[in-house]
């Protein structure tokens, strides 16, 4: 049974991360930007678990566990913010929330 190398996982992780980045850069819908951020977190998790396997250590998986927990908290607060903004501005377009500028 041939084992997939860690490098291959890291490559996938990098691709997913880049897609997440491009999503944040290009999309204007706050919810989709938010989902892109989740994608980036997810790709980081993938890399962490790949390293965990490579080093035969549980630490990577534990950290992934924490990342998921923090992500849950972040999503809860972030979505609450979105709801608040939507109530005030009737929009989920981040470009409409640009009052604070020089």
């Amino acid at each position: 049974m041939s084992e997939i190398s860690t490098n291959a996982y890291v490559l996938v992780s990098a691709i997913l991360f880049t897609i997440g980045v491009i999503g944040v850069m290009t999309r204007r819908n706050a919810i989709i930007m938010f989902m892109s951020v989740e994608l980036m977190l997810n790709s980081a998790n993938l890399a962490l678990i790949a390293f965990s396997r490579a080093k035969a250590s549980t630490d990577g998986q534990i950290i992934t566990f924490f990342v998921i927990a923090v992500a849950a908290a972040e999503v809860a607060v972030g979505l609450a913010l979105l709801v608040s903004i939507f109530r005030a501005k009737r929009t989920t377009n981040v470009d409409d929330v640009s009052t604070l500028k020089g």
């Binding site: 996982y9 997913l16 991360f17 965990s52």
Partner: protein, 172 residues
């Protein structure tokens, strides 16, 4: 066999991610993201991390994405980008920089990392729930408790943020 599974899941994951970013409907995006999460969960299984795969599916693909869908439906924000792009160069520059980042990532993935993979046999046991929980409740006990407080704060914060202050004032 493993290689085939890996390549398939990798293609599904990348495709789902692209679909998430490119689709104009937020609901479709969310569904694509769930697909992506599931594909990544399969990869976790390949990486001998069954517990994390289960957490990935239940927490991420399950709870978090349900929350997303719920908000999208609630706000009625499934229709994507309304109006014209105010900063025209943002999109091409973002894609360009993303490409640069990807190049750097690939370089790091293949040239930068000089990991010597541990033997598979050593990695077999680490993903088991028993192993993980033993470490989590001994070595990582304090971070674990901190996380629980963080989640509590998040709950309180969410409640505060979404409460209608106008109604409160009227109540007074």
């Amino acid at each position: 066999m493993e290689t085939v599974i890996f390549i398939t899941t990798a293609i599904v994951a990348v495709g789902a991610a692209l679909g998430m970013v490119l689709s104009s409907n937020a609901v479709h995006s969310a569904l694509f993201l769930i697909l992506n999460f599931c594909a990544v969960a399969v990869m976790y299984l390949l990486l001998r991390a069954p517990f994390m795969a289960a957490v990935q599916v239940t927490v991420y693909a399950g709870a978090i994405m349900v929350l997303f869908l719920f908000v999208i439906m609630l706000l009625g924000a499934e229709k994507a980008d309304l109006g014209s792009e105010p900063i025209g160069w943002q999109k091409p520059v973002g894609v360009l920089l993303g490409a640069v980042l990807l190049a750097e990532g690939i370089y790091v993935a293949y040239k930068g990392i000089k990991l010597v993979d541990a033997p598979i046999t050593a990695a077999l046991g680490i993903g088991q729930p028993t192993t993980l929980s033993a470490v989590l409740f001994s070595k990582y006990l304090l971070p674990f408790e901190v996380i629980s407080i963080l989640l509590l704060v998040a709950i309180v914060g969410t409640v505060v943020l979404t409460r209608r202050t106008v109604k409160l004032k009227e109540a007074e």
